[in-house]
Amino acid sequence: MATLAGAPGALTIERPDGQPVHVGPVDAFALETRAKRLASRSVKRESKRAGLLLATTCIDLTTLEGGDTPGKVRALCARATRPDPDDLTVPPVAAVCVYPALVAVAREALQGTSVRVASVAGSFPAGQASIDERLHEIRAAVADGADEIDIVLNRNALLAGRLEVVRDEVAASKEACGHAHLKTILETGELGSYEMIRRASFIAMAAGSDMIKTSTGKLPSAATPPVALCMAEAIRDFEQQTGEAVGLKLAGGIRRSKQALGYLAIIAETLGTRWLTPERFRLGASSLLNDIVLQLRFQTTGRYGRPGDLPVD
């Protein structure tokens, strides 16, 4: 399906229904310049408050540790539904993101709330398992009550040039998700170039992902402003060709409010404000939420609170 012809930008990918999508090139220098400029937009007062509230509603509050237990996940869920125990106007986050083994716990803890349950699946984070095992894990997580599934793209196949395998696996994962939403993690830190990130974005979108996501959070190099811009441009170009709006999830290393506001600016000025909803935009993070709460409190009281005063999980 994937044909490499002429210039690197001339890659065309066939969707499962046979419709071709044209990838097109990306150039590092101007991309990085633009991303840096957007990420340093000066967001103050009402705009900052709106941005912080918006970012909160788009957070996938995440714990993906070997030491995760039901107790920890319940505490996380409590924080997800009520980010600031002293200020109930701070809205709940979009979702809680856990390992498949803890989906049932999260499902129960979040019953009756607007917070969705997301699960990584498909041999997270490396994805180095057979496709059958990976699909089985997806189905199990959905059966346990996951609303959203975060899979990892097969970088083994992608970097070896077996693009068809990558596409078909994502399509199969989408099918295994059933009613659940599929987010596909590109693990951009392993892809080596913006061209490859753009290519992976298109493959994941062409195969039917509801969202594309930067990183697992398990690598030192994760979401960065140019990576976010590169993927946002791919999403916009894909929509222009197919009419389908794919979401974007940024994850890994997003700990500060200021970073989150920078990413909102990148989305707003690349995809437009219609992308700034939890349906189309997510921030995968854990420590970010408390920083936002502190910033919101500062906006209200004019004083910086102590991080230690906020609940942890």
Partner: protein
């Protein structure tokens, strides 16, 4: 379902409130503007001998900022005499490492007072604070640092030649990059052991005068740097002064030609950095989003008041409609307004006269049958503003396609082949800058060999570095500024004794 919908509704409102970016204005209390400024001659601030003054105004409001002294022939005489005195009294014979020390000190002081310089530059000139803060002032400091490094290494700058300073430099700079152009002129002149008489542009004297204050703070010997403010006549008096050993001028081609005639036959040295009508060539394989960023940076940077602006877009026919559609969308994101707002992308037009000139150009293009597209940006009520503008439907012979507008106005033409792109790009009397966007390396090389311009950028535009020589060919002038080549313009060269 109802809940979900109402949540989305709130989300949209938040998104709108967020993306409006309420004003985030850089405080202006860091600068103190005096009611009246004198001239800097012989290390002292002096009133002009004949006492004239003119007003400098803030282009974003039209408000009066200060009275600037109008230097006349008599003041120029004094300034040149002071510069000559300082040159002969020791600057030329100073140990090079001591000269370097002074220039390093200037560079550091510019960094120390960077915010003050940036805010004043935006107030007096109208450019966005983002640009003065991130580009003009850091680059100015970089020019002093770079040339400070050369001061004691000049014997290596031009192999096989013995170098000596020229003497008194008469330097006339424009209003588009007041501090940066002063830095481009002063730093190499001083590093090479020359002394300086600087004439800033009449609409933007304030930062040059602040630079003069920094020169005094750096304790440079009196008379090494002199600043004579004034308008065209002051500049003409400096350019024609027999005591000036070299004239360095940046400005319009019309004035440059006049100066060239004045200097011709006098044996005095001359470098001219004049106008431009830079071609920006985009091939159909280019990375489109990045090409659009390049186009935007090339023409809307500093309101298009850039001599090397990419003001003529040449786009390969097959992608023209697509690219222009994207460009128009991108232009809607440009925030035009208060230069001190950190989110402003396009600031105020530098002067009422320049606004009139730009307006005449665009009206003329319309009457010549061109299609005009402007961004919908709301403009402030007071001050001088012009919306980012695209001009299409050109034949190539229109005035706007040939002459320098010096404003945020981009003309668009299409081409079919590389050869046609080169022919159209070179069909101008100017030759300062050009740009090429393509994913194909060999095509970049083919194009850069044929484009007639002093600077050709590939897959980027408007990048500057102190180590990289800048200058034009044809009616864009001659001589280079920056880099090793730039040093040669400020040195007397003789074959080294064997």
């Amino acid at each position: 379902m109802t809940t979900a919908r109402s949540q989305t509704g709130t989300g949209e409102n938040l998104a709108e409130t967020f993306s409006e970016y309420v004003p985030s204005v850089e405080a202006r209390d860091i600068v103190s503007i005096k009611p009246r400024y004198g001239l800097l001659i012989g290390g002292e601030e002096r009133e002009p001998l004949q006492g004239g003054a003119f007003a400098t105004i803030e282009p974003s409001s039209g408000d009066h900022l200060a009275e600037i002294s109008e230097g006349t022939q008599a003041d120029v005489d004094e300034a040149v005499a002071a510069a000559r005195g300082a040159f002969e009294a020791g600057w030329r014979d100073l140990a090079p490492r001591v000269r370097a020390k002074y220039i390093f000190r200037l560079a550091r002081l510019i960094q120390d007072r960077a915010r003050e310089l940036a805010v004043l530059e935006s107030i007096d000139g109208g450019k966005p604070i983002r640009e003065s803060r991130d580009i003009d002032i850091p680059l100015s400091a970089a020019h002093f640092f770079y040339h400070a490094g050369w001061a004691d290494k000049l014997e290596y700058a031009v192999p096989g030649m013995r170098t000596a300073p020229l003497g008194v430099m008469g330097q006339i700079i424009p209003w588009n990059f007041p501090v940066l152009m002063a830095a481009w002129k002063m730093a190499p002149a001083l590093a090479c052991g020359n002394t300086v008489v600087l004439k800033p542009a009449e609409t933007t004297s304030l930062t040059a005068l602040l630079l003069g204050e920094i020169v005094q703070e750096a304790d440079l010997p009196p008379g090494v740097v002199n600043i004579v403010t004034g308008a065209g006549e002051t500049g003409a008096a400096l350019a024609a002064h027999p005591g000036v050993d070299k004239v360095a001028f940046t400005g319009s081609t019309a004035v440059g030609k006049k100066i060239a005639r004045q200097v011709a036959g006098t044996g005095r040295r001359l470098t001219l950095e004049l106008g431009g009508k830079g071609a920006h060539v985009v091939f159909d394989d280019a990375a489109l989003d990045q090409a659009i960023e390049g186009i935007v940076d090339a023409i809307f940077f500093n309101q298009g008041h850039v001599c090397c602006a990419g003001s003529r877009l040449l786009v390969q026919e097959g992608i023209a409609d697509h690219l222009l559609g994207r460009l128009k969308q991108r232009m809607e994101l440009l925030r035009v307004g208060d230069p001190l707002d950190k989110n402003t992308d396009v600031g105020a037009i530098n002067s009422h006269a320049q606004l009139q000139r730009i307006t005449e150009f665009v009206e003329g293009a319309e009457s010549e049958g061109c299609a005009i597209h402007q961004s919908g940006a709301p403009l402030p009520e007071r001050g001088f503003w012009f919306r980012p503008t695209l001009v299409t439907g050109l034949g190539g012979s229109e005035r706007i396609a040939r002459e320098e507008v010096f404003g945020p106005v981009l003309t668009v033409q299409t081409f079919r082949t590389e050869a046609e792109a080169v022919a159209k790009a070179n069909a101008t009397r100017y030759g300062l800058s050009a740009g090429v966007w393509t994913e194909k390396g060999s095509r970049i090389l083919w194009m850069t060999q044929r484009l007639k311009a002093g600077v050709v950028w590939a897959n980027t535009f408007n990048q500057f570095d102190a180590a990289s020589p800048f200058g034009g060919v044809r009616e864009s002038g001659f001589g280079r500024e920056g880099g090793r080549q730039g040093l040669e313009e400020y040195l007397q060269l003789e074959p080294a004794a064997k």
